[in-house]
C-alpha cells in the first residue's frame, strides 16, 4: 500500500509531495487540474517498461498507430508531454514509498551520451543534429538498484529494452477499453476456480445475471453474461456500461490483492439508484483483498453516497482521505485534506 508519493517535473506537477495516502483516497478538483495526471504518475512508477507510457498516450486520445519522420523532433514528440512545461532537459521523477518503507522510483530522462541517428549514421555535424536522436530512458529503482529501459527506433519500429518488475496497480477509466484484458484475467480466475465469489458479487447487484463466462466471438475473447429470459449469452459491453465498469473494477480487485486500484471518474456508468450498493460492494471487496483505492470523481452524488461507507470506517485502518487538485498557471498542486465525512455530511461543496 502506498504511503507517500513524490512527483517532480511530470506533466502538470513541477514538484508534488503527498505524505499521507490512506487506504481509500478520493481525488477531486476542477477539470485540467491534474487528477488524471496523478493517477498516471502512479501507474507509470508501478510499470515495467516505457510501453506503459504508450498506453497512457492512447488513453489520452492518441492513436496507437503513429508515423515518425526520422527526425529528433518527431521522436521526442512522443514523450514531450511527460515533462512539466516540456522541460525535457530535467528528468521527470516519480517516487512512491509503501507503508512498509519500501520505495520505488522512476526517472525518465534523455541521457546525452547515447545519441544516434535512427538511420544508423552517427554524426556530430550540426546540420544532422535534427536527426540525432537521444533515446529516452526510463529507469526504475527498487531495492536500491536501477533497471533502465530505453525506447529505441530500429528498423522503423519502437523497441523497449530491459523490462522491470511491476508493482500491482490497475488503472481503469471511461477512456480505457479494456475488454480483452478483463476477459483474459477473468478466464485466469475461472481456471483457478476463483471466479465464483466474483460472479456472486455481480449477482448481488444485478440479480438477473445467471452466470459470467469468457467466450470467443469472431475469434476475439469477450466476457459474456447469461441473463434471465434471454435465450443466448450476451457480450457484457452490449448490456450496460455500468456493469462493464463494475466488472472491470471487481476483476481488478480479485486479481490484484495487496495492490492499488486507480479509478478515473469512478461514478461514470453507474445508475444513481444502484450507486450505494455498487460502492458498498466495491469497498468491501477492496477491504477484504487489501486493495488500496485512489479514485477521481466530479460527482457530488458519488461523495454523498459514499458518506455512510466513510463513516463506518472512521478510526479503522481503512480510512478515507480527500485530495484536492488545484492548478495555478502551468503548475498543479494537491491538498491532502483527510477524511471528508464531516464536510460531506454538512452538504459542503468540496469538489
Amino acid at each position: 500500500m502506498i504511503k507517500s508519493l513524490e512527483v517532480k517535473n511530470f506533466r502538470c506537477y513541477k514538484n508534488l509531495y503527498l505524505r499521507d495516502l490512506k487506504h481509500f483516497n478520493i481525488v477531486v478538483g476542477e477539470g485540467g487540474s491534474g487528477k488524471t495526471s496523478l493517477l498516471e504518475a502512479i501507474f507509470l512508477v508501478a510499470g515495467a517498461s516505457p510501453e506503459v507510457w504508450m498506453r497512457l498516450r492512447q488513453w489520452r486520445g492518441f492513436s496507437p498507430i503513429f508515423r515518425l519522420s526520422g527526425t529528433r523532433d518527431s521522436y521526442e514528440s512522443l514523450f514531450r508531454d511527460i515533462f512539466h512545461n516540456f522541460e525535457k532537459h530535467k528528468p521527470a521523477s516519480i517516487r512512491m514509498v509503501e507503508y512498509n518503507d519500501r520505495a520505488r522510483t522512476l526517472r525518465i530522462f534523455y541521457p546525452k551520451q547515447d545519441g544516434y541517428s535512427p538511420g544508423g549514421k552517427n554524426s556530430n555535424d550540426a546540420q544532422e543534429n535534427a536527426y540525432l536522436v537521444e533515446p529516452i530512458t526510463f529507469g526504475w529503482t527498487t531495492k536500491g538498484k536501477e533497471q533502465r529501459s530505453r525506447v529505441d527506433v530500429k528498423d522503423g519500429l519502437l523497441r523497449f529494452s530491459g523490462f522491470n518488475n511491476v508493482y500491482p496497480v490497475w488503472f481503469t477509466s471511461p477512456a480505457i477499453n479494456e475488454g480483452l484484458t478483463v476477459a483474459t484475467l477473468f478466464s485466469e480466475l475461472s481456471l483457478k476456480k476463483k471466479a465464483t465469489n466474483l460472479v456472486n458479487a455481480i449477482r448481488t447487484l444485478y440479480p438477473n445475471v445467471q452466470d459470467v463466462s469468457v467466450e470467443s466471438i469472431a475469434g476475439e475473447l469477450a466476457l459474456c453474461v447469461s441473463i434471465d429470459d434471454v435465450p443466448e449469452k450476451l457480450p457484457i459491453g452490449t448490456i450496460s456500461s455500468g456493469l462493464t465498469h463494475f466488472l472491470s473494477i471487481m476483476v481488478a480487485i480479485f486479481t490484484n490483492p495487496f495492490g492499488v486500484l486507480l479509478i478515473d471518474e469512478f461514478e461514470v456508468g453507474f445508475y444513481y439508484a444502484n450507486l450505494e450498493k455498487v460502492l458498498e460492494v466495491i469497498f468491501s471487496f477492496c477491504q477484504e483483498h487489501n486493495v488500496q483505492v485512489i479514485a477521481s470523481t466530479h460527482s457530488y452524488e458519488f461523495l454523498r453516497t459514499l458518506l455512510p461507507i466513510m463513516k463506518q470506517r472512521q478510526g479503522t485502518e481503512y480510512e478515507f482521505a480527500l485530495l484536492r487538485t488545484q492548478r495555478t498557471g502551468s503548475e498543479s498542486a494537491i491538498k491532502e485534506l483527510g477524511d471528508p465525512s464531516a464536510a460531506v455530511e454538512s452538504n459542503f461543496e468540496v469538489r
Binding site: Y272, A273, L275, E276, Y300, E301, R304, T305, L322, R324, L337, P340, S341, A342, A343, V344, E345, S346, N347, F348, E349, V350, R351
Partner: protein
C-alpha cells in the same frame, strides 16, 4: 426504492469573511441586523450550521471547502443556553477537530499564523467583554419585543401564571415567552420560525433596539478585528 435526493449543497466560499450561525435563526438575525444597522456585509458570507446537532460536522468540515484557505475571518455565533461554559467549550472542541484556530475566550481572536485565518466565537446573548450569561438569541430578541409590545407582555404574564411551568429553565422560559409574542403577533402563521420573525419586513422585532447595540458594534468591527495582530 430509489434513494432520497441529496439535500441542497451549501455554496462555495466566495467572500473574505464567513459568519456561521448555529441555527437558521442566528444566521438570519446577523443578516437582518447588519442590514438594519447599515453594516457593510458585501464581503461577508453568512451561513447557518443547521442546528446544534450539526454544528460539530459543520465546523470540522469547513477546511474541506474549496477556497476556505483564502478566508480571512471566521465568526461563529452560538447560543449559551443553560450551560454557557459547556457550549463554548464544545465549539472549541469542534474547532480543534476541524484543525482550525481555537480562541481561549469568547470574542477573542485566534490565529495559527499571523496572516492566517482569524477565528472568533460570539455566544448569545451577547455579554460585554466576552463574559457569559445563560440564554440564547431568544433572550436578546425578547428584550426588544417586550419593549415594543408591553400590553401583550402583560397578557403573557397572566397566561404564564395559568400554566404548569415546573422544571422550565430561564432559557426555556425566554423561548416560551418569545414564542407567545410571535404567535400572538403574526396572524398568518402562528408557528412562524425565528429566521422569518427577525425579518424587518415582519415588524415583529425592532432591530434598532438598544439591546442589539453591542452585537452590531462587534459585527461592524469584525473585519478590522481579524486583520489586527493577534496572539498566534
Amino acid at each position: 426504492m430509489s434513494p432520497a435526493p441529496p439535500p441542497d449543497r451549501i455554496p462555495p466560499i466566495s467572500r473574505d469573511f464567513l459568519i456561521v450561525g448555529e441555527g437558521q435563526g442566528d444566521a438570519a438575525f446577523v443578516r437582518y441586523l447588519c442590514a438594519t444597522r447599515k453594516i457593510d456585509i458585501s464581503n461577508f458570507q453568512i451561513e447557518d450550521a443547521g442546528g446544534t446537532g450539526k454544528f460539530e460536522a459543520y465546523i470540522s468540515g469547513l477546511r474541506f471547502r474549496p477556497k476556505f484557505d483564502l478566508t480571512k475571518g471566521l465568526l461563529i455565533v452560538g447560543d449559551n443556553d443553560d450551560s454557557p461554559d459547556e457550549n463554548f467549550s464544545n465549539i472549541q472542541n469542534h474547532l480543534k477537530k476541524g484543525k482550525l484556530p481555537r480562541p481561549a475566550q469568547r470574542l477573542q481572536v485566534a490565529k495559527h499564523t499571523a496572516d492566517g485565518l482569524a477565528v472568533v466565537v460570539m455566544m448569545l446573548p451577547y455579554t460585554s467583554g466576552g463574559g457569559a450569561t445563560r440564554g440564547s438569541l431568544e433572550t436578546l430578541l425578547l428584550k426588544s419585543v417586550n419593549d415594543s409590545y408591553p400590553a401583550i407582555g402583560t397578557c403573557i404574564d397572566t397566561y404564564r401564571g395559568c400554566i404548569p411551568a415546573k422544571g422550565r429553565t430561564n432559557n426555556q422560559e425566554d423561548k416560551f415567552r418569545l414564542r407567545c409574542f410571535l404567535t400572538a403577533l403574526w396572524v398568518d402563521e402562528p408557528n412562524i420560525s425565528l429566521q422569518y420573525a427577525v425579518s424587518p419586513s415582519k415588524e415583529l422585532i425592532d432591530l434598532n433596539h438598544e439591546c442589539f447595540n453591542e452585537v452590531a458594534a462587534f459585527l461592524r468591527g469584525f473585519a478590522n478585528l481579524c486583520t489586527t495582530p493577534a496572539r498566534v
